[in-house]
Amino acid sequence: MKKNLLTIGSLLVTAGLLTFSSCSKDPEVKPEIEQEEFNAVRIDFIRLESSGAETTDTVTVNFDKEGNATPSQTLLKNGNSYRTLLTLSLDGTSINDEIIEEGTEHKFFFNPSAAGIINYTYNDEDADGNGIGLDGNMTITGTGTLNLKVILRHALDKSLPDAQAWNSTTYEKAGGEDDLNIAFGLKAE
């Protein structure tokens, strides 16, 4: 009986020691190359001649990773048309290719806070012939100040009616989720 107790006792102590012998060293860890989120957005408004030819006149709005716009208000001229180019980038490198590659799953929408001032048409096309919005034409049709919201929807169903208009406010009904949701001030003179 005593012998057994001794055996058990020593077994328990050994068990305890074994558990502690691999006393925790700090874990090893390697940084992960984070490739998912883009951390900057740039919108270029390139003024177009009435013929449609591009000028070198460009107005740029930059957005930082918190979505803050610089400048906070952009000035565009009533009656002009501008080629509107969006660039999403990660640490300075554009990731637009990824969006174009999965074009059928992505679409940009523009929601102006006041109607009748701007109009937009998509220049680019995905594999199904639907617009994406990285490249488009914006025409100023009135004067005033407004807040322009730019939304990128991912994994939406572009065939649905709520996904058709460039300024659709019911794009959520077409499914998917917000990948980009920023806003900036626009003044049309």
Partner: protein, 772 residues
């Protein structure tokens, strides 16, 4: 002496004459019920699962050792009681209306220790215990573990849709509820509310829910209770046992098949074995009105066990593999707050979905391996020793809808390695005193698998823990008293990267817990148990270190590396009243106080990013209290009808902030009417039942703490029918249940998908179990 002889002859003659009178009585007034309590002669503890026979009448004792036989005549009865691990009781007794206690002697066969061990774990406590036995599990098979045990009052489910569920016991879940899978603590990133326990319920012969703070025996995380998933003991006889289970559910068109084979080596009967496997496949499930796209699931599990039994020693080895792939509802993947608010305003998905069973991103892929080795040594008549070693590897992968072809790369990929070593000594002085000392050791490593290209949610970490405890128990015929004390130590070192910045830290936690409890056998029909115990829980890695957008939750969550351990005191009292089979009442009442209760607090501010803005939550700790009651009552009337009423109520509050805690289950009441009938001679144990569930609207919540108010109250109707046949000398159990019979469109507060969708609609499930 001579006189006594005459008396004896007189009595003998009288009974001889009385017997024929009795025989006549048998034909006319034999509908008495005999109530028995079967106990272990040595330990005085109840013996569950003992078969009781009087002539052709048969019954089985429950977890309190109680059994009843109806249809008996008054007078002498020949009683035959059999239980594995015990000698057979075969004797004549006189019928009595009082509950008769029969003490069984432990059988001299080698299996007694193994058998009794299995039962002991479930009963050897003064806290509240409820066990689901084979018969109960047969009617629930095909569901996940959380859904099966939610039939116990006080147990609810924290759902992420219908395919992912975590048990909630008296308001406690995740790291506040310990789940023991075949005696080994289940470790698998359980801090995540959408991380379901990686356990195949088909391995269980019984599942036990312990509601007290069982911290003394199990250490940290048993703060809210313990769920024990216990497989059957390995067989002692040399025939092959088999069990085949088939279950088909209409909603989701889910099919499950499970088979188990166990036996004993004829040439080497001391060695027994068991192999088991389960396969499950299902597609998109449906609410009352629409399908939830991408909610299919697949599961493939298998296990093997080998056991060696000798006179004073037994050892067994067990291995199990769990593999599951679960689709996450497409419409639950939200972007910013705007997205979320639009979805909540719509109340349901924009599309009606359709049925298909392919699984795309977002989805979860989980693999869990468990290897266990145990040994039990019977040192002498008074002393037993147990040593248990477990090794687990849990791999969790989560896939999201990503750009640039990265949808096939997991956004979350962790390997969690856990080793546990438990050793204990049990002493019983053969009379009325028991003592137990034990040691629990744990060593765990969490390692991310590189290559996800996204910021890991939690850091890598190594943690080790050790605990020692001692418990004493006094067992008297009328009462039992128990007291215990435990010391725990835990060390955690974590390191991770956020972009190129290293973060982490080293933490040490210490704690002493104690408990006292008692059981009072107040008369033959009433047991009152009470337990007062302290418990603790160190903060988990995500509570300490989360920092950033939690994509699945659509929120930015920040941890706090200065968090201290949670400390709690729980007082639970239960009353169990049993009048044979006619009336059963179980009532549990508890009060649970926490200091440093850790939770996510909504700051009310928003984090702005290019994706939009997200609400910010911070991990913090406050004092909290939980008060609650669970009850279950069963009345048998008109001989064939049983009416059962169950309910659970919780009142939880944040004492520091003087407001309510989020995600506390609402009041729930369930009633069932069951008819036992015999339509044909070849059908046994036939039943038909109708159930009604009512869940109230949760009114105890703070508007600022949630994205949407709790859903309305709802009513559900359930139908069940079943029977048993004998086929080729073995039993085939068939049952069919219809859940949500009326196909109600409803939302449950504890379902994280309630922001985007409703709960599951009508589901017709057919189950077959064939036992050889």
């Amino acid at each position: 002496m001579h006189f006594l002889k005459h008396v004896a002859v007189l009595i003998a003659t009288a009974s001889f004459l009385y017997a024929p009178l009795c025989m006549r009585a048998q034909q006319s007034g034999c509908n008495n019920t005999l109530y028995l309590r079967i106990t272990d002669k040595k330990s005085r503890e109840p013996v569950a699962g003992a078969t009781v026979n009087v002539a052709s009448l048969s019954s089985m004792s429950d977890e309190n050792g109680l059994a009843g036989l109806t249809g008996l005549c008054p007078g002498n009865l020949h009683l035959h009681i059999q239980a594995i691990g015990y000698g057979v009781f075969d004797g004549d007794i006189a019928y009595t209306a009082d509950t008769l206690t029969i003490a069984l002697e432990r059988g001299g066969i080698t299996l007694d220790d193994v058998e009794v061990q299995g039962h002991k774990q479930a009963l050897n406590t003064t806290t509240t215990v409820t066990t689901l036995h084979e018969e109960d599990l047969d009617k629930l098979k095909g569901a996940n573990l959380a859904a099966m045990i939610s039939t116990v009052p006080g147990v609810r489910i924290l759902q992420t849709g219908s395919t992912i569920g975590k048990p909630v016991v008296d308001g406690m879940h995740s790291n506040r509820l310990l789940i023991l899978n075949n005696g080994i603590r289940q470790e698998g990133q359980q801090w995540g509310s959408e991380h379901a326990p990686e356990i195949d319920p088909f391995i269980a012969q019984n599942i036990t829910v312990i509601k007290g703070a069982e911290a003394i025996r199990y250490g940290a995380e048993a703060i809210g209770g313990v769920v024990l998933v216990n497989p059957a003991a390995l067989p002692a006889d040399s025939s092959i046992h088999a069990e085949i289970n088939l279950a088909g559910a209409s909603n989701g068109r889910t099919g499950t098949a499970s088979a188990m084979l166990s036996g004993n080596f004829k040439k080497f009967p001391a060695l027994a074995w068991r192999v088991q496997g389960t396969g499950k496949r299902g597609g998109n499930y449906k609410t009352a009105d629409y399908y939830l796209d991408n909610t299919g699931s697949r599961e493939l599990n298998y296990s093997a066990a080998l056991g060696y039994t000798k006179a004073h020693f037994d050892a067994d080895v067990f291995y199990s593999h769990f593999n599951s792939e679960i689709g996450i509802f497409k419409g639950s993947h939200i972007g910013s707050r705007e997205d979320l608010l639009a979805r909540i305003a719509n109340g349901r998905p924009y599309e009606n979905g359709s049925f298909y069973d392919s699984i795309n991103a977002p989805r979860q892929v989980i693999k869990h391996d468990l290897l266990k080795a145990t040994t039990h040594i019977h040192l002498n008549d008074y002393l037993h020793a147990n040593i248990r070693y477990g090794f687990q590897r849990d791999n969790r992968q989560e896939y999201d809808v990503r750009r640039g072809g990265r949808t096939s790369i997991p956004s979350l990929n962790y390997n969690l390695y856990t080793q546990t070593l438990d050793a204990g000594l049990e002493y019983f002085n053969g009379n009325s005193f028991k003592a137990e000392v034990g040691f629990n050791g744990l060593y765990q490593q969490n390692k991310k698998v590189d290559g996800t290209s996204t910021r890991p949610l939690i850091p890598n970490f190594n943690t080790e823990g050790a605990g020692v405890y001692a418990m004493g128990r006094v067992i008297k015929p009328a009462y039992e008293l128990e007291a215990g004390i435990r010391y725990d130590y835990k060390y955690l070192t974590a390191l991770g990267y956020r972009e190129d910045t290293l973060y982490g830290g080293r933490h040490t936690f210490n704690n002493v817990s104690a408990s006292v409890g008692g059981i009072w056998h107040a008369g033959n029909n009433l047991d009152i148990r009470s337990n007062l115990g302290t418990a603790w829980r160190p903060p988990t890695v995500n509570e300490l270190y989360s920092g950033g957008l939690h994509h699945g939750a659509g929120a930015v969550e920040y941890g706090d590396s200065t968090l201290r351990s949670e400390q709690s005191v729980k007082w639970i009292t239960s009353a169990n009243y049993r009048k044979g089979n006619r009336l059963t009442i179980d009532l549990d009442v508890y009060a649970h106080y926490f200091s440093n209760y850790i939770y996510l607090f909504p700051t009310g501010t928003f984090s702005e990013s290019l994706r939009g803005d997200f609400p910010v939550f911070r991990t913090t700790q406050d004092n909290a209290r939980f008060l609650g009651a669970d009850f279950s009552a069963n009345v048998r009337f008109l001989k064939y009808l049983d009416y059962t009423l169950k309910g659970s109520f919780i009142r939880a509050k944040n004492l520091t902030q003087d407001n309510y805690l989020p995600m506390i289950p609402a009041d729930r009441v369930e009633q069932t009417l069951r008819l036992r009938y015999e339509p044909f001679a070849f059908l046994h144990k036939s039943y038909l039942q109708l159930g009604h569930v009512f869940v109230a609207r949760q009114t105890r919540y703070d508007p600022g703490s949630d994205f949407a108010p709790p859903p309305d109250a709802y009513h559900l109707l359930n139908l069940g029918i079943g029977s048993q046949l004998a086929i080729a000398g073995h039993t085939l159990d068939i049952n069919c249940s219809v859940d949500n019979l009326a196909n109600v469109l409803y939302k449950d507060y504890m379902n994280r998908f309630r922001y985007y969708a409703h709960d599951i609609g009508r589901n017709v499930i057919v189950r077959l179990t064939y036992r050889i």
